[in-house]
Every structure is written in structure tokens, then in C-alpha cells.
């Protein structure tokens, strides 16, 4: 047996080692806080340079976006219109189809179908967006042009539709999770009164799972708003103040790509615009995330 003091000393090093490891792990976890702070800091400080040259009023209300021309105008509305139009098209595809698939998988599908369909949807969600962009430009647009010959080669419509298909897996699988979480007793009560599966799904399951379904929709919106490559490839990159999806248009994201591909020097106003555009995008997705958060809180049903 060693001296008691020696054993105590060993315990002390063990204690110190534990503390050091805990501190290291804490720092790793704190990287996420650091990342958020860095995103906000970079976007705000770089946009600050931009807003010293361009008044906020012009940024919000000008109806032209020509930062790369000599006669520069900085109206973010033009890019926002592209973002909103393409996102609306995407949501018109993703929300109905995603909801139908979710209801089908949760309430109708036999076990085997669900076991195959869920991983398959996951695979579909894992395909790189550049591939979807290629698909929109070279497969869907020619297809749509057969029906509607006036459609230009670059347009927000086919980009939006493909974007919607890309979002379906997210909407479907999150909504399905919410529906599956509804307790069986509610369904059994409904069936006992003689309701069909569809009636049970629409009048019992969906209303009970509405908070989860709503937050799935919100996630879909924020995916659509932040999607980049599909629009950069298939949407055309001309700024265009329009809400007509059959026209080409630039979005906030595709504009950032366009400038990043060019050779503008860092520090020029043209270059700083991408940070102002990025800040707008960040605020936009933040608003949607907050709405999603409050919806979940407000309509949450506790079972």
C-alpha cells in the first residue's frame, strides 16, 4: 500500500484530466455558437460597407437591380420577386404532393410499401442539387416547351417545379413523422364511429398533427428560399422584376453565385452586394424559422 498522500495526488491528476477533457468537449460544442456569431458578424459588417454607399431606401424600394453596370441600381425587390416566384411554384408542387404522400404512407400504405418508400424518399432527398438543376434545364424545360412553345430556355417555372420535387421528401417525411406520433386511440375512436380511413386521416389525424405538418411546410419554404444551384443553372441569371414563372429571372441565391463566378475585386461595391443579398436571405429564412417555432409551440398537442 502506498502512502495516502501519493494516492491522493494521483486522484488529483485524474480529476484535472477529467476537467481538461470536459473543457475540450465543451469547446467543440461551442463551435456551433461561434459559427452563428461569425455568420451574423460577417454578413452585418460586410453589408455595413455596402450600406454606406447605398441608402437603405434605395435598396428596399428601387425597382432595378443592375449592380454590375455603370448606371448601378440596387433594388433588392427584383431579386426577391425571383425568389418568391420560384419558391411559390416549388411549394405548389411540394405541399400537395408531400402531404398526400405523408397521409398515404402513414394511414394507408401496407407495412412493406412504407419500408421501401421511406428509404427511397431519403435517397431522393440526398441527390445533389446541381443534378436537379441539370435535370430542370435539359429535361423538364424541353418537355414543357412541347406543351407551351413560347417558354424561354431559362425560366423560373421548370426550376421551381424541380425544386418542388426536391423538397417533397423533406415535407413528406416530416409530416409523416408528425402523423405517426398521433396516438392510436384517436384513430380507433374515429374508426369505431364508422369513419373510413380517409375521413379519419383528414378529420382526426391531420388536425392532431397540424403543428408538425405546419413546421414541415415551413422547413420546405426555407429550403426553397435558400436553394441555389437549380436556379443558377435553369432559372437564368437575368434580374427581372416579375411574378410570372414563365420568364427567366435571378434570385438572391443565383445572384450570389453569378458574382462569385465573376472576377470583381473584393471591396468593390459590386462585390459587397453579395453580402447585402446574403443578409437579406438570412433574415428571410430567420423569419420563417421563427414562424415555424411559434407554430410548433402554439398548436402543440400534448398526449
Amino acid at each position: 500500500m502506498s502512502e495516502p498522500s501519493a494516492r491522493l495526488k494521483k486522484d488529483l491528476t485524474r480529476h484535472v484530466k477529467e476537467r481538461v477533457i470536459e473543457a475540450i468537449l465543451f469547446l467543440a460544442a461551442f463551435v456551433s455558437v461561434f459559427t452563428t456569431t461569425a455568420i451574423v458578424y460577417i454578413l452585418v459588417s460586410e453589408s455595413w460597407v455596402f450600406f454606406q454607399h447605398v441608402p437603405l431606401g434605395d435598396f428596399l424600394f428601387d425597382t432595378q437591380w443592375t449592380p454590375l453596370f455603370d448606371d448601378a441600381h440596387y433594388g433588392i425587390m427584383v431579386l426577391l420577386s425571383g425568389t418568391i416566384t420560384s419558391s411559390l411554384v416549388a411549394l405548389l408542387v411540394a405541399i400537395p404532393l408531400g402531404t398526400i404522400i405523408a397521409i398515404y404512407l402513414s394511414e394507408f400504405a401496407p407495412f412493406a410499401v412504407r419500408e421501401i418508400a421511406k428509404p427511397f424518399l431519403e435517397l431522393l432527398g440526398g441527390i445533389p442539387t446541381i443534378i436537379y438543376g441539370y435535370f430542370a434545364l435539359l429535361f423538364l424545360t424541353p418537355l414543357l416547351q412541347k406543351v407551351y412553345p413560347d417558354l424561354p430556355g431559362f425560366n423560373l417555372l421548370s426550376a421551381g417545379i424541380v425544386m418542388g420535387i426536391m423538397i417533397i421528401p423533406y415535407v413528406a417525411s416530416l409530416s409523416e413523422d408528425a402523423m405517426r406520433a398521433v396516438p392510436m386511440a384517436l384513430r380507433e375512436g374515429s374508426y369505431a364511429t364508422g369513419a373510413t380511413r380517409l375521413q379519419t386521416a383528414l378529420w382526426v389525424v391531420v388536425p392532431s398533427a397540424i403543428s408538425g405538418i405546419a413546421s414541415a411546410y415551413i422547413l420546405g419554404v426555407s429550403r426553397a428560399v435558400g436553394e441555389t444551384m437549380i436556379l443558377a443553372v435553369a432559372g437564368g441569371m437575368q434580374p427581372n422584376l416579375t411574378f410570372n414563372p414563365a420568364e427567366p429571372g435571378a434570385t438572391i441565391t443565383s445572384f450570389i453565385v453569378q458574382v462569385a463566378l465573376g472576377d470583381l475585386p473584393h471591396g468593390s461595391i459590386g462585390y459587397q452586394t453579395i453580402f447585402a443579398a446574403g443578409l437579406t436571405l438570412m433574415l428571410l429564412t430567420l423569419v420563417f424559422n421563427l414562424i415555424g417555432y411559434y407554430m410548433r409551440k402554439k398548436y402543440r398537442e400534448a398526449y
Binding site: 456551433s32 427511397f120 435539359l138 426555407s222 441555389t228 438570412m282
Partner: protein
């Protein structure tokens, strides 16, 4: 109940049952639409691109002549960037996940970390590109290099790795921890001897899914400023002369698969489009293989583990 009412009631039931069946069909059709899109996408790329895929395509640099162009610099770039991403994201993500599950006290700092992790998962990828441009390229001066791209993608997939780690750890029953603590183990001994080994398969699943996402990410890497035409390879890792040599590759300019594909897609000549299809086909196969592996791994895991 008279005959007429009964008739009406029957008609109503039949109508509802008809709607029910109809919806079953609509549901299958909606699922099929997804399946068909996938099939069309895959077939379209295979038809246009398969003719271009050959050993030459994999071992040639991009070229002005479409028929000579290949994806050598692109896939080497992708592999090197993924290497950096894995080296950064896996230790950080696992450490963060372990901290949040096993160490974190219930206080406001932990709450802030958790809110941040879930928020970061929803930040558009192009924002990470702007972050990297401002932070890694201009503030830290890392340049438009493999290191910058790898770190950017690592930050991007960090939430995926953290969430997967936490889920895997949470599925380990409490008795395992209690048994180890009862023998006098410290928290770190419990974590390194029990928690991490038992959750490694679940963590691996998350890491593969994250890497599959990173390999297809285009927007943040374009924003960082990757070049689109690279006709040389970076020096191979760990081969250069000391002192700085072995890490030269980290600071080399580079391109990656999705950017090469984007570059070819935006050319007007049809010949380059079939190159794009070929590159896309290989990229899809890569992500499908990775995601498929992850899904299979998770399936095996769910079947085999009985605590």
C-alpha cells in the same frame, strides 16, 4: 328507419368508401411521381453520359475540346476536400454530441448551444459560402484553397454529425452507464470505453449521410471562389519537402465534381452537355452509394442490437 333513409345512408357509405379507395390510388400515384422523376433523371443522364464514361474520362484534365475533356482534377479535388471535411467534422461533431449528451449541465449555456445546432441545420448552404469567404478567405487568409473548402463543408455538415451522434448515444440504455460508474469509472472512462464504441455504428451512419451531402454541395464552394478550369493536380498529400511541404496540398487551388459539372452545363455546345451528363452520372452514383450504405447500416443496426 324507413326504406328511403336506409337507401340514403347506404349511398353515403358507398360514396365515402369510394373516396377512400380513390385516395389510396392517388397516394400510390404521388409516390410513383417521385419514383418516375428519379427514373427519368437517372435514365436521362445515363443515355446522354454513358457514352462518355471511360478510363480516359477519369484520367484526363478538362479541355477546350469536349471530346478530350475529363474529370481528373475534379474527382481528385473532391476526394481531397472530403478528406479535410472528414478530419474536421467528425472529431468536432462527435465531441460536441458527446458533450451535449453526457456532460452538459441543464443551464442557459447548454440551451443556447442546442438552439444554435438546430438553427444551423436550417441555414441555406450559400450562407456558409459567404461565411467562409469573409472568415476563412479574407480574415484568416487561407485563400481559395482546399483547406477553406473542406472547413466550409465541415461547418455545413456539423449539425448532421452532432444530431446523429446524440441520437446514437441516447439509444444506449442507462444501466450501461450506471454499471460503469458503480465500478468507479470517471465520466471520460465511461465515454471512451462504453458510450463512443457502442454508438459508433450510429455515428458512422450520420457521418456518411453528412459526407454524401458535402460531396454534392456546389453553392458554398463556388462562393468561396473555386476555379472552374483546373488543368493540374495539387501536390499529393504528405509527399512534399519539409518543413511546409507535406501540407502544400491544403493550400492548392482546386475544383470539385459538382463545379466541373456546373461549368459544363453552362456551356452552349451540346458536346459539353454530354460531359456534364457523364460527370453528373458519376456524382449521382457516388451519393446514391453513400446514402444507400448509410440506410443499409441503419437497417442492420436496428435489426441486430438487442440490449
Amino acid at each position: 328507419m324507413n326504406q328511403q333513409e336506409l337507401q340514403a345512408l347506404r349511398a353515403m357509405i358507398v360514396a365515402h368508401k369510394r373516396w377512400d379507395t380513390l385516395f389510396g390510388v392517388i397516394g400510390i400515384l404521388a409516390l410513383m411521381l417521385g419514383l418516375m422523376t428519379f427514373a427519368a433523371l437517372f435514365a436521362d443522364m445515363a443515355i446522354n453520359g454513358l457514352g462518355r464514361i471511360s478510363v480516359d474520362f477519369l484520367t484526363s484534365f478538362p479541355s477546350r475540346r469536349a471530346a478530350n475533356a475529363g474529370i481528373l482534377s475534379a474527382w481528385v479535388g473532391s476526394v481531397l476536400v472530403m478528406l479535410v471535411t472528414a478530419f474536421a467534422a467528425v472529431p468536432l461533431g462527435v465531441a460536441a454530441g458527446v458533450y451535449l449528451e453526457e456532460y452538459a449541465p441543464k443551464n442557459w449555456i447548454t440551451d443556447i448551444i442546442e438552439i444554435n445546432v438546430s438553427n444551423l441545420a436550417g441555414v441555406p448552404s450559400i450562407i456558409y459560402g459567404l461565411l467562409a469567404l469573409g472568415l476563412f478567405v479574407y480574415t484568416f487568409g487561407l485563400g481559395q484553397s482546399i483547406l477553406t473548402a473542406g472547413l466550409t463543408l465541415a461547418l455545413l455538415i456539423l449539425p448532421v454529425v452532432i444530431v446523429a451522434t446524440r441520437e446514437a448515444i441516447r439509444s444506449i440504455p442507462q444501466i450501461i452507464r450506471e454499471g460503469a460508474y458503480a465500478c468507479g469509472a470517471t465520466t471520460w472512462q465511461v465515454v471512451s470505453d462504453h458510450i463512443v464504441p457502442y454508438s459508433s455504428a450510429g455515428i458512422l451512419t450520420g457521418v456518411i449521410i453528412g459526407m454524401a451531402r458535402a460531396i454534392g454541395e456546389t453553392a458554398p464552394i463556388i462562393t468561396v471562389g473555386a476555379l472552374t478550369f483546373i488543368a493540374f493536380l495539387p501536390t499529393m498529400p504528405f509527399t512534399g519537402e519539409l518543413p511546409a511541404g507535406p501540407f502544400d496540398w491544403l493550400f492548392a487551388p482546386f475544383t470539385v465534381m459538382p463545379i466541373q459539372m456546373f461549368n459544363w452545363t453552362s456551356r452552349p455546345e451540346a458536346a459539353f452537355l454530354s460531359n456534364a451528363a457523364a460527370a453528373g452520372f458519376i456524382l449521382v452514383l457516388m451519393t446514391l452509394a453513400m446514402n444507400g450504405l448509410a440506410i443499409w447500416l441503419r437497417y442492420r443496426l436496428r435489426k441486430n442490437i438487442k440490449w
